[in-house]
Subunit: 223 residues, 2 copies
């Protein structure tokens, strides 16, 4: 497996506020960290289109060229931001894990948690998938680590009764769940569905309703 050690110890920490500019010495101390925080701040406040490398440098109070000593290019900064996003998603799914009695309820619960994360962090979610699309893959972090969101979905399936010896079926089911959640996460922000949300009694009910109706793809119709 090709995976070089990360250059810095990774934890998702709360974003620091921007330091008062006049207090900064010539050498910043931890500009890398400050740049990631500045990027996330801009992302939250101004949205993904406002996130230019120069704007991030401005927000961090350094010159436009400074970031290039910590990131090869803009993409590498965005990768670092996305990395934190994936870690946050892992944590969100961990928190929501394993509620519900049967397979359906467990999976729907996990799916709703996923969609809620995307709803609450729309810009971050977008950066996460834009980066993946560019690389034509999800980050290694998502597929290999034990607490990765992908592995949690798979483990939940097993807990809920899926046959762990049929590896292919298990991976297909995990992929199916992931696709359903991601698809809904992207649709959920579209205004066309507002009337449906109202009709079923709110956003979360809408999410549950959509997952419920994934049954149209089931070979034998339940109910």
């Amino acid at each position: 497996m090709i995976f070089t050690a990360p250059r810095y110890r990774f934890t998702v920490r709360p974003m620091r506020e921007a330091a008062a500019p006049e207090s900064r010495p010539y050498h910043h101390g931890d500009l890398r960290r400050a740049l990631i925080d500045a990027a996330r701040r801009l992302l939250e406040q101004e949205g993904p289109t406002a996130l230019s490398l120069r704007a991030v440098a401005r927000e961090a109070g350094v010159s436009p060229a400074a970031p290039y000593h910590h990131f090869k290019d803009k993409g590498e900064l965005l990768d670092a931001v996305a990395h934190e996003g994936w870690e946050m998603l892992n944590q969100a799914l961990t928190a929501a894990r394993a509620k519900g009695a049967n397979l359906h309820d467990k999976m729907a619960g996990l799916g709703v948690a996923y969609v809620l994360f995307a709803r609450d962090n729309p810009s971050l979610y977008r950066v996460m998938y834009d980066g993946s699309r560019d690389k034509e893959d999800l980050p290694t972090q998502m597929r290999m680590k034990d607490d990765s969101a992908y592995c949690q979905v798979r483990d939940t399936l097993v807990e809920a009764g899926a046959d762990p010896t049929d590896e292919i079926a298990l991976e297909l089911a995990t992929t199916a769940a992931w696709c359903a959640a991601h698809g809904l996460a992207e649709m959920a922000s579209f205004k066309s569905f507002d009337h449906l949300k109202d009709a079923v009694g709110g956003e979360e009910a809408f999410f549950h309703g959509v997952f419920e109706h994934m049954k149209v793809f089931a070979k034998v119709q339940p109910d």
Copy 2:
């Protein structure tokens, strides 16, 4: 319903080749059309990142300011390109419609057709959804017109036996199918799934397999 008449008669026509630049008179004749074609050509050949307004103008053999007499800004050009994409998707689903005996087979067939469209027109598909995300909605064209992809999914559900009087369930099921297909369309290009594709015997089998396993969300497990 808010929907102004389109400014030009719409059909999805094959892209014209770039005209020999020296043969072009000062007034182009149909620069709007030529710009859309140039944009789609660039999109196919160079990918979405290469698609700048200036590059499109260059490709069409015209000055950088010329497009602004036919499109308010870059976004409006991309909207026009996306519009053609949605029409193509409609046609693709129409062609694939209603094959299969039961609900599961019909829906899986439609879903696979959707995913194949995204696989075969990756850059166009991206432009279609980027535009939708910016506007926070799918184009009106997708939801209202009778032959729209969305309506076709819904009609297929009814044909396959869904209760047409339960409007909410019908819309939820249509949405679920759409989410599943869009989710898989985005995942399908990720390399992590290559081994799964091989394991199940090819890409289309993989698509069918994933749709099949959407059953993990069904309340009663079939099989």
